[in-house]
């Protein structure tokens, strides 16, 4: 986690540096079907994050030796564009993005009905156009929407959400300064209906008591995020319905 600093991240009124309360999410907006070629797509703006997700598949897994005869392989590729962060990022995967791609792939695999598509591959391309804190959970949240928009059968939606520790206090959904100068970050991926945990990473310093507080905040926020996911998809189906009635 972050480096120590003199910056006061929570003020005397308990408000955070961007004015949020400890249990408040940053502004969050999801749009579907933003791309034409992809089988499904979504665009998420979450705080300053701008992330595009495209889904292709199910299609035959390639190269052949990667095929699983029992189920589809979900392959997420998390990528930061060269201009997404303060210092220009050299194109291509680095160790961080390889790890994030792996945990997101695993989280989505738990939600998709992979057993329906043996030998297939489902590609989820996550492009971070602008990065604020929490790109992996924003990318995960949008991926789930893009999969649904692609019509891929899922047992549940995956919601990404994080809580962290800032100035010694547990708060929801860290912003950039909080991420840089906070004491802990706990990103999670949760199946919306069942509450099962399919992604979890943590770094920093948290007592077991603080972990309880953090997960309570996350579990509660999950419902709100799920609503936004549903609305984004409802927008899609409304649009489809209109299209049809317009014929």
């Amino acid at each position: 986690m972050g480096t120590a600093s003199d910056i006061k991240l929570i003020d005397e009124n308990g408000l955070r540096i961007d004015g949020r309360s400890p249990t408040e999410l940053r502004p969050l907006k999801i749009e579907t079907d933003v791309l034409e070629r992809a089988d499904g797509s979504a665009f998420i703006e979450w705080g300053g994050n701008k992330i595009l997700v495209a889904v292709y598949g199910p299609r035959e897994a390639y190269p052949k030796h990667t095929q699983d005869i029992e189920k589809a392989v979900v392959k997420a590729r998390y990528n930061m564009s060269a201009f997404s962060v303060d210092e220009r990022k050299r194109p291509g995967p680095d160790r961080r993005s390889v790890e994030i791609s792996k945990v997101i792939s695993e989280a989505l695999s738990a939600a998709v009905m992979v057993e329906q598509f043996p030998r297939a591959q489902i590609d989820v391309f996550i492009e971070v156009l602008q990065a604020d804190a929490g790109t992996r959970i924003a990318g995960l949240t949008a991926s789930s929407v893009a999969l649904a928009a692609a019509g891929i059968p899922m047992r549940d939606m995956v919601v990404g959400c994080a809580a962290g520790k800032v100035d010694g206090k547990i708060v929801l959904d860290l912003g950039k300064e909080e991420d840089n100068f906070g004491q802990a970050d706990l990103p999670m991926g949760i199946l919306a209906k069942s509450g099962k945990i399919v992604l979890m990473q943590m770094d920093g310093d948290m007592s077991q008591e603080e972990f309880e507080q953090a997960t309570a905040l996350i579990m509660d926020a999950t419902k709100r995020i799920y609503e936004i996911q549903r609305e984004a998809l409802a927008g899609k189906y409304r649009a489809l319905a209109l299209e049809r009635s317009g014929e």
Partner: protein
């Protein structure tokens, strides 16, 4: 350029397009010399030094500029540096693959770069911090996110638009931030030859039917700043003259309409 998902355009579609072209109409109803609809959203990535999201028909690209201090090239100690990179993201097309730039994306980036560079759009001499030691390096990176033909023009539009709004972070080097000094505006116009017809701004279907491609980049003075012929077919000299004329005309219209 990649084939469509079926790998080849069906015979029927192909004949339909060729027939229409003979009648002076394109598959989507355009005239041979017209561009698809262009939409330009600048400042799309506000945290970059400059950015633009461009739609050219259904082709979509995002350009972002980063400006950092660094060393000049030894042979141009009194100039800033421009570097242009194009990523054909796998999200943009079913057969695009992740990985280092292939010859396709390298060609696009180099043609876009030549247009910007040779038009002298950026005043590189105004980007020196300390001669021979430290200059501003302008990184122009383009993400291709949705592919339906004519990437060179979409990318040139996006980079040019992004550069026009870009800010040099002078404050990081003890000065003040200032607008990137830009002057000329290069407009690239790409045309392909289908049968004996030349059409501008080809979509993917047209690129698949074409035998040769030509890009002509001009500035407001209607001078040519960069050209690139592509593909395994040929052009006659007359066809190239026609292409240059077309580029010049379309460039004027685009400048008029989008860069007032």
């Amino acid at each position: 350029m990649p084939k469509d998902e079926a790998g080849v355009l069906s015979e029927i579609k192909r004949n339909y397009i060729l027939k229409k072209l003979k009648e002076g109409r394109r598959g989507d109803g355009r005239s041979p010399d017209s561009f698809r609809e262009i939409s330009i959203t600048t400042n799309y990535v506000p945290r970059s030094a400059g950015s633009a999201y461009v739609k050219l028909g259904r082709t979509k690209v995002v350009a972002g500029i980063k400006i950092e201090s660094g060393e000049p090239f030894p042979d141009t100690p009194n100039q800033g540096v421009l570097t242009t990179n194009v990523e054909l993201l796998p999200m943009a097309f079913p057969t695009f693959e992740a990985g280092p730039p292939n010859e396709g994306s390298i060609e696009i980036a180099r043609v876009v770069d030549r247009g910007i560079r040779e038009s002298k759009m950026i005043d590189l001499e105004a980007l020196v911090i300390e001669p021979a030691k430290k200059v501003w390096i302008v990184f122009a990176d383009i993400d291709v996110i949705d592919f339906d033909g004519n990437l060179i023009d979409a990318c040139t539009l996006a980079v040019a638009s992004a550069l026009r709004t870009a800010v040099v972070p002078g404050s990081t080097e003890g000065g003040k931030d200032f607008a990137l000094p830009v002057r000329n505006l290069p407009v690239s116009v790409t045309m392909v030859k289908i049968g004996d017809e030349i059409v501008a701004d080809p979509d993917l279907e047209e690129e698949q039917l074409s035998t040769a491609r030509i890009t002509v980049t001009t500035t407001a003075d209607e001078h040519i700043r960069a050209m690139q012929k592509g593909d395994t077919g040929y052009f006659t000299l007359d066809e190239i003259r026609k292409a240059i004329k077309l580029s010049s005309d379309i460039g004027r219209q685009i400048r008029e309409k989008y860069f007032k």
